[in-house]
Amino acid sequence: MSSRYRLGIDIGGTFTDFALVDEGTRTIHRHKRLTSPADPSASALEGTDELLERAQISGGEIAMVVHGTTLVANAIIERKGAQTSFIVTKGFRDVPEMAHENRHDIYDLNLRRADPLVPRRDRYEIDERIDSDGVVLRELGADDLRRCIDAVAESESSAVAVALLHSFRNPAHENAIRDALAARRPDLAISISSEVSPEIREYERMSTTMANAYVQPLIARYLEKLEGGLARRGSVNRLYLMLSEGGLTTSHVTRLYPVRLVESGPAGGVLYSRLVGRAAGVTDMVAFDMGGTTAKACLIRDGRPRQTTLLEVARASRFKKGSGIPLRVPSMEIIEIGAGGGSIARLDQIGMLKVGPESAGAIPGPACYGQGGHEPTVTDANLLLGYLNPDYFLGGRLSLDRRAAERVVSARICEPSGLDLMEAADGIYRLVSEDMASAIRVHVAEVGADPRTCMLVAFGGAGPLHASYVARALKMRGFMCAPRPGIASAIGMLDAPISFDVARSFVAKIKGADLTAVANVFAELEARARTLLEAAGVNKSAIAIERTLDMRFAGQFYEVSVPYEDGSALTSAGLCDAFLSVYRSLFGHVHEDVEIEILTCRLRGTGPQPDSTKLLAGSPATGTGKPKGQRQAYFREWGGMLSCDVYERAGLRPGLAIPGPAIIEEPESTTIIEPDTIARIDEHHNIVVEFTNSTSSDY
């Protein structure tokens, strides 16, 4: 790849963001345009043309196009995937809707769960059975196979998912079904569970395989258009997609495992935070993205985003764990909090203030938008507190109506509660900020990390407004806000290496286990990962391999992830020690004389980390560094209304120090600098606030 250009494209629901990096001149060309909802590839290609024209280069000069998209997640949430059939071991077609049989809210008599992506009438049973050792108990009968294939082939489905019991131990029957289906209907998209998610626990595996099949036709069509369009512009075979785990993969692999892209969009944002932090010498941080309806956060430790192997999407009760569709997908663990700028504040039946998860959305939006919103929102509170500039919202494109905000907060909050206007607005601000802090606190504590060593890296429209409060509530080191947060993901994904995670369940007690068998599983996983990476253009010698094992005390229900060093001998004693050490660090104690078992082997293959020093190239500073004005803003803990200097972000030079209270405005967001803190502008134009001494919150 001799060319010096790399292009990042992040397609969100509303906007598509572009970042074109010129590695020769260390400049970044940025671009943003509306996403065309009917065909997101069209807006991606049009935006690319606009950007290429601006940079005066041809498509052939782009070495690599890196692409993140919310397409997969949205197709599942909005149920816009293909009509899909599902083939399952006889006697088990109802497993996808039986789910875990428990309730995600113990008091709600009307609770709902997300329906399976494939309705019952499209789920077909096939007579076969494999046991937990992979031994065939009942052969796949030719007649039954034919009957089942006929039924699926004659249906209107364009995709099929196949998930048989214990197929991760023995995929023979799934393979046979796939081959028969492919022979009969070559046009079908087929996902088999032993390839998509070869892991124990049938409900999650079925759900993941169904989701993969469900989005496959859609993604295939989309990639064909996008790749075709890029090829016509001279960029052939240079498209890479952002995986949920934070690596890149080819369009070929994406076509096989599209479900792996479910967190593709948010992953870019986390990588951007890491990039910003790394440039500032920070390795431990929390990426914090707060937008209009939700906020997202992810812990990054030693430069590595926290990982998970199980996600949940499309929750029927918003933000209630357990009400959605589980996906067994390697991913960054990005927590979602049901509150953002548009979240509605209300008093509950006992007069307690609550914020979210209901949101005023974009239409009618917060009351201060003046578009008919009549519920008080977080944005209304931020306006009343003086944090937002009514004449400079979205760079002045929308003028905010302070009176309207006042009216709704008075009517809905002040009158029933007896609070005055500022108390109410401050209450909303603090409550939503505390909700963020609480969720982050648990997320950080679960892995035994200490928030005091972390920086909060805030982005999204509302992130910088709440960053100082949230970071202080968590007693973090401080917070930082990078410039141009609006295209964070498009830049972040350019920092991703090519990588792929593979896994296979293999249940074995450590004591007396046949560790050769475990080693064989790893060897098979490694061969698979290497093949995929080499096909993606990674040099054989540049591939790094990491292995982990999901292990537990026999009889427990949850596994812990135990790293297993590359090259170290696989011995019972070594694995035991490694497990006990991880277990102790998580839970503070271990059990003696209890058997330890392996459940799943995992392996990640990673190509070289791209050179990211060019990704933060800033535009030359031109500003005066002087405030553009003053305004009053409310800081309850410092006595109430204070006069604040107001700065224009674009005018801030590196090296500048701004004492709080102050407000820094830019078209996409507003950063609040609280009293007793000092904001410094670093060489990459980041706003950095480090707390010197911990200020205790009061109540």
């Binding site: 006697g91 497993v95 049989e101 008091y107 008599l109 009307n110 609480s438 229900f557 949850y558």
Partner: protein
């Protein structure tokens, strides 16, 4: 702000809860979620619990704490102590439920307690029986005891306990794990108090409790003053059990009186202690009246619960109590039946019961195994929605994975499927039950025990809704008269089929389009659509309007003539 701090207390307990689930060995604990993590103030009042904690323990633990603190007065407690008992009459009703209480100190001053009530793997005694005579044969009873003294394990107590339970390593391991979760909770609680510069929990506890109590009073005021009666027939063991309840509302208070319920029995271990009856009553009232308020003891203040001493809902020492949920899990339904008239929009038709299946034995390699599997029938419908299929209620156990199950025991699950037509017909349909077939693959006999329910008396319908389809249970192809434990030889099976949930409202008022959709998915058969709902479908599966009207008219008059009167109508 109270709201922020209150939320933070729950978050602390959620962390304790999460650590418990992730480190537990007990299936009943980790998958069955039969435990609660509760924060008590210095007076022993419960002020917060984990979001998913079993509801009722929020009232049983303060009662247990009183007993524990009587023996170990607060002045004699130190950091690192953990008190415990599993006495059914002091605790929550049967021996496997252990209550643990750890004091929390701040600057040398006692500020409150972190407590856990948890169902551990084993408490000794006879396995899998229902015909117990007294509590002595049910296992070891640990009187109030200091299990940890300043962080040091009481080896005498541990060794006595260990010598009296099966799988002692797991039972003792869970106790150690719980002690560790209490330390985690205490650390988090102190961090919280530091952060807000609070000396103790006193002020916060008062505000949470009084506010919660006042809001329950307001909620009770929605019930028109008067008396409301409900009655439930339960399968019991051999003889049916009657639960009778009278709710009396007035002046912001509610009295709940179970007079007229069956007497306690010495023929079966299905007796409930009063603590448990109170717990299950408050759960039902919270669901109906005030589902969104975080659970704490204050919600119980305006409610008086009484059951005659010596009745099956207030059993006297020392009757057998091991299988008491056979009785207590129906308490909520008696309350819903009584409230159906006063607050029809706030109750739920009958739900299936929890059906744990336990199996143990020696596998082909000579190793001992013991497993539990939970499965559930349908949830009852409400005035607003159909019941969910296969969902736990009132308890909240999660079903296990068949693949994990088959890896842990020489058993084969032949089938785990919804039961067509099992949801009780109604304007809103009850959730479907399921059928699971488990076959032994072991060369050695496998001992299996199941706790079936709702075979004789299926989940009831409300407001004109029909009952769910009854449960079914068979061993080696035969339906036993009375459930006990069974030995399965290789190739022999048990079939367990929990019931469907009850329907809500008149099935002839159900939207024919919804019935057609149920038929298309196979939840309801064509025959049942016609017979139970009066909905006639055309060849394309769409409702035939004219025929449906006619069929419904005819069926309505037949129902009228036969005098069929659904419960709660």
């Amino acid at each position: 702000m109270l709201e922020i701090l209150w939320g933070r207390l729950v978050t602390v307990m959620d962390e304790v809860d999460a650590a418990t689930v992730r480190t537990a060995f007990s299936t009943v604990l980790a998958e069955g979620r039969d435990f609660a993590c509760i924060l008590l103030d210095v007076q022993g009042r419960s002020i917060a619990q984990g979001t998913f904690s079993t509801t009722g323990f929020v009232v049983t633990l303060p009662r247990t704490a009183k007993q524990l603190l009587k023996k170990f007065p607060p002045a004699e407690l130190s950091p690192g102590d953990m008190l415990a008992t599993n006495d059914p009459w002091m605790g929550s009703g049967h021996l496997p439920d252990f209550s643990f209480l750890s004091p929390v100190f701040r600057g040398g001053k006692l500020i409150g307690y972190i407590g856990t009530v948890a169902h551990l793997t084993d408490a000794g005694g006879r396995l899998g029986y229902f015909n117990g005579v007294d509590v002595y044969e049910e296992g070891i009873r640990l009187p109030p005891c200091r299990l940890f003294d300043k962080g040091v394990a009481n080896t005498t107590a541990f060794s006595i306990l260990g010598a009296n339970v099966r799988a002692s390593r797991l039972v003792l391991g869970d106790i150690e794990a719980i002690a560790a979760t209490h330390q985690l909770g205490a650390t988090r609680l102190l961090q919280l108090l530091d952060e807000y510069a609070l000396p103790d929990l006193r002020d916060l506890a008062d505000r949470i409790l009084t506010l919660s109590s006042a809001s329950m009073e307001q909620a009770i005021a929605q019930i028109p003053d008067g008396e409301y009666r409900g009655e439930m027939l339960c399968d019991g063991y051999g003889d049916p059990v009657t639960l009778r309840v009278a709710l009396r509302a007035g002046g912001g208070r509610l009295s709940v009186d179970f007079a007229g319920s069956s007497p306690q029995t010495t023929r079966a271990a299905i007796n409930a202690v009063i603590s448990l009856t109170i717990a299950d009553t408050l759960f039902a009232l919270k669901c109906a009246l005030i589902p969104d308020i975080r659970n704490n003891e204050g919600l119980s203040w305006p409610i008086d619960v009484d059951a005659p001493a010596g009745s099956i809902l207030n059993a006297s020492f020392p009757v057998a109590v091991q299988a008491r949920s056979k009785t207590s899990m129906h308490v909520h339904q008696a309350i819903f039946a009584a409230l159906a008239e006063a607050l029809p929009g706030r109750v739920q038709a009958g739900s299936a019961a929890a059906w744990p299946i336990s199996a143990s034995g020696i596998d082909a390699a000579g190793a001992r195994f013991a497993t539990h599997f939970f499965l559930h029938g349908g949830k009852g419908a409400t005035a607003r929605s159909d019941g969910l299929a296969t969902t736990a209620f009132p308890y909240n156990a999660a079903a296990g994975s068949v693949e994990i199950y088959e890896n842990s025991a020489p058993l084969l699950v032949e089938r785990k499927a919804l039961r067509v037509d099992s949801g009780g017909p109604g304007r809103h349909r009850g959730g479907l039950g399921q059928e699971m077939v488990v076959t032994s693959r072991s060369p050695n006999p496998v001992v299996v025990w199941v706790r079936p329910d709702k075979i004789r008396f299926p989940p009831i319908g409300l407001a004109g809704g029909r009952p769910g389809r009854s449960a079914e249970f068979s061993v080696k192809g035969e339906a036993p008269n009375l459930p006990t434990s069974y030995e399965l030889l290789r190739g022999e099976s048990v079939v367990v089929a929990p019931p469907g949930g009850g329907g809500y409202g008149d099935p002839f008022d159900r939207d024919p389009v919804a019935v057609a959709a149920d038929v298309a998915e196979g939840y309801v058969s064509l025959d049942s659509a016609a017979r139970e709902y009066g909905v006639m479908l055309d060849d394309a599966g769409r409702p035939d309007g004219e025929q449906t009207v006619r069929a419904r008219d005819r069926l309505r008059s037949e129902v009228h003539d036969s005098g069929r009167r659904p419960v709660g109508a």
